[in-house]
């Protein structure tokens, strides 16, 4: 199951589907889980290592060669932001987000579901606003030529990427309102469907 093959990935019809809406939601579940997994891998294997390399390089250049990277602070900030946003949807799926377990585990099944609905609605509103506003900022930033303070790269592609990550997070919060990882199709460190708990 790490990740499972395409046959596994193909959707089963919803157990008690009552119509097109549930089919559509199941489709959102499938693509967003895949997107969430790929974003997590991007953060894990590309942006976080890049961040480590850049910080190490900057420190080395500053202390050993007296030649700090003037744009290092801007680039580090962007990489850190991308890394965090890449991991956000996956963090929801793996239940790594903060939840008031002290109260949650004492609730009945029915109440837990109500609490799940409430937290999902809150999450969707927050990340939904973030996704929409991020997308609205993209043309504004293109028009005004916004760059970093020292890194003279246009910032709009990064804003577009953050908007995309927020969009995937919304889809995951909606499709997996209980933040339950048992049914996830894509895993990183869970051979044979057994969760190692590593990630």
């Amino acid at each position: 199951m790490t990740p499972r093959n395409e046959t596994d990935v193909a959707s089963d019809p919803p157990a008690d589907s009552v119509g097109g809406l549930d089919q559509a939601i199941a489709w959102v579940d499938r693509w967003s889980e895949r997107a969430s997994f790929e974003l997590f891998r991007l953060g894990l294997y590309v942006t976080m290592p890049a961040l480590v390399v850049l910080v190490t390089l900057d420190v080395g250049l500053r202390y050993l060669f007296n030649a700090p990277l003037q744009w290092g602070r801007d680039a580090n900030g962007l990489l850190l932001l991308i890394t965090i946003f890449c991991a956000l949807p996956h963090a929801w799926d793996r239940a790594h987000h903060i939840r008031m377990e002290v109260f949650y585990i004492r609730l009945s099944e029915q109440r837990r579901r109500l609490v799940d609905v409430l937290s999902s609605v809150s999450g969707i509103i927050v990340f939904g606003f973030m996704a929409v506003q991020g997308a609205r900022f993209v043309p504004f930033m293109m028009r005004t030529g916004e760059t970093g303070e020292d890194l003279e790269w246009p910032l709009w592609p990064f804003m577009a990427f953050l908007s995309l990550c927020a969009c995937v997070t919304v889809a995951r919060v909606f499709a997996n309102p209980a933040a339950r990882e048992d049914d996830l199709r894509y895993r990183v460190h869970a051979p044979d469907g057994k969760d190692s708990g590593a990630l």
């Binding site: 919803p14 157990a15 008690d16 589907s17 809406l21 549930d22 939601i25 500053r62 202390y63 007296n66 030649a67 700090p68 003037q70 602070r73 579901r113 799940d116 609905v117 409430l118 999902s120 609605v121 969707i124 509103i125 506003q133 609205r136 900022f137 504004f140 028009r143 005004t144 030529g145 916004e146 760059t147 970093g148 303070e149 020292d150 003279e152 246009p154 909606f174 499709a175 997996n176 309102p177 209980a178 339950r180 048992d182 049914d183």
Partner: protein, 375 residues
């Protein structure tokens, strides 16, 4: 169990969808009203600085009192500080999205969006922060307005920080003595100035300078005197070179939709009151007594003041001249009147040479600079 789980998920998803639709339906009715029945207007000021910071306590609050007095309470303010509604870098976006009516929106934080505006930071252009703020506003209608309004905002006013000076471990009188030194700097033109004199700029926040200075990561700091005092840098640096390298002109923006929707008499009154705002900052925070107190703090901390002689000052001017030439050349290549802009900045600054803070204050009250916003 899987069947139950599917049922559970479907149940939750449907309720999430239903709740979202409900929230969406009532959201449009949750808007507040900004115009009071007595004809007064309520404007929103937002800032990234805490309420203990001088930009708020010594600049905005005294100016707000002037506004209340002059408008007889017709212009009222609600203020959100400490980055509550947006951060320092997001002033333009906060106005574009209607989060605020009046906020900090510095060109230096978005260098790629501006060209001629950066010229206000050229070295040795202004004598003090009061003149820098006034001349920046005078230059604005002809040279800078199109750049700034392209961001979807109006310019409210310009402030200018105290000049950037040097605090170092060893005495520095000439640019030659800067060669090879690691100097704390902001990005942009200040870093370029340091490179021009052979120093190595280390970009870091002012708040990080103390530790870096103490540990020997940097040999000197390029910073304004009030910040040197505020961050207790005199505990490490023992020589203060009063060279006045450059001023950082900082802009504040206005929400065009809010401003245009105000009654005409309120618009005119607010416009004129904004012309005073830069001098409030100069008198209360960047210059005046605050500046004197900061220098006293350095001296009491055992710092020796180094005032370069006219000859030594000339060496600094010669050293950084290529920077000004490069700025003019690059911007002229873009079809911008950079040479005329720099010359006019110098000419206008020369008019106010030797003026006291009081003279500048009286001048802006009597002759508010026209043309910054079309009234």
């Amino acid at each position: 169990m899987p069947k139950n789980r599917d049922s559970s998920d479907t149940w939750s998803r449907r309720r999430v969808l239903g709740t979202l639709l409900g929230v969406g339906a009532i959201a449009p009715f949750a808007r507040g009203e900004r115009r009071a029945s007595d004809g007064s207007v309520l404007l929103r000021y937002t800032s990234h600085v805490p309420n203990s910071h001088g930009l708020y306590a010594k600049c905005f609050i005294p100016w707000r009192e002037i506004v209340t007095r002059e408008s007889k309470g017709r212009i009222r303010w609600e203020h959100y500080v400490d980055g509550l509604l947006h951060g320092a870098l997001d002033g333009f976006k906060a106005v574009a999205t209607g989060v605020t009516d009046y906020t900090h929106a510095y060109a230096t934080y978005q260098p790629g969006s501006f060209q001629l505006t950066h010229g206000l930071q050229l070295p040795f252009l202004f004598q003090n922060s009061g003149v820098a703020a006034l001349v920046s506003e005078e230059l604005y209608p002809q040279y800078l307005k199109s750049e700034y309004e392209r961001m979807g905002v109006y310019l409210a006013h310009c402030d200018s920080t105290t000049a950037n000076d040097i605090l170092s471990r060893t005495p520095i009188r000439t640019p030659d003595q800067m060669r090879g030194l690691k100097v704390r700097s902001t990005g942009g033109l200040l870093a370029d100035i340091l490179v021009q004199v052979g120093a190595i700029p280390v970009v870091m926040a002012a708040a990080e300078a103390y530790t870096a200075f103490q540990r020997g990561i940097i040999d000197a700091v390029a910073l304004s005197v009030p910040d040197m005092a505020a961050y207790r840098l005199y505990e490490t640096g023992k020589f203060y070179t009063r060279i006045r390298l450059s001023h950082t002109v900082i802009q504040y923006c206005l929400n065009p939709r809010t401003f245009d929707s105000l009654p005409e008499d309120v618009r005119v009154q607010l416009y004129n009151l904004y012309r005073v705002r830069g001098q409030v900052a100069n008198r209360n925070f960047y210059g005046g007594e605050g500046l004197v107190n900061a220098i006293d703090t350095l001296v009491e901390g055992g710092v020796e003041i180094v005032d370069p002689t006219p000859d030594e000052r000339e060496q600094w001017l010669d050293a950084v001249r290529p920077l000004e030439e490069r700025f003019v050349k690059q911007n002229e290549a873009l079809g911008l009147p950079a040479a005329a802009f720099v010359q006019e900045a110098k000419d206008r600054a020369a008019v106010y040479e030797g003026w006291t803070d009081q003279q500048l204050w009286d001048h802006v009250w009597a002759n508010p600079t026209p043309g910054i916003i079309a009234l």
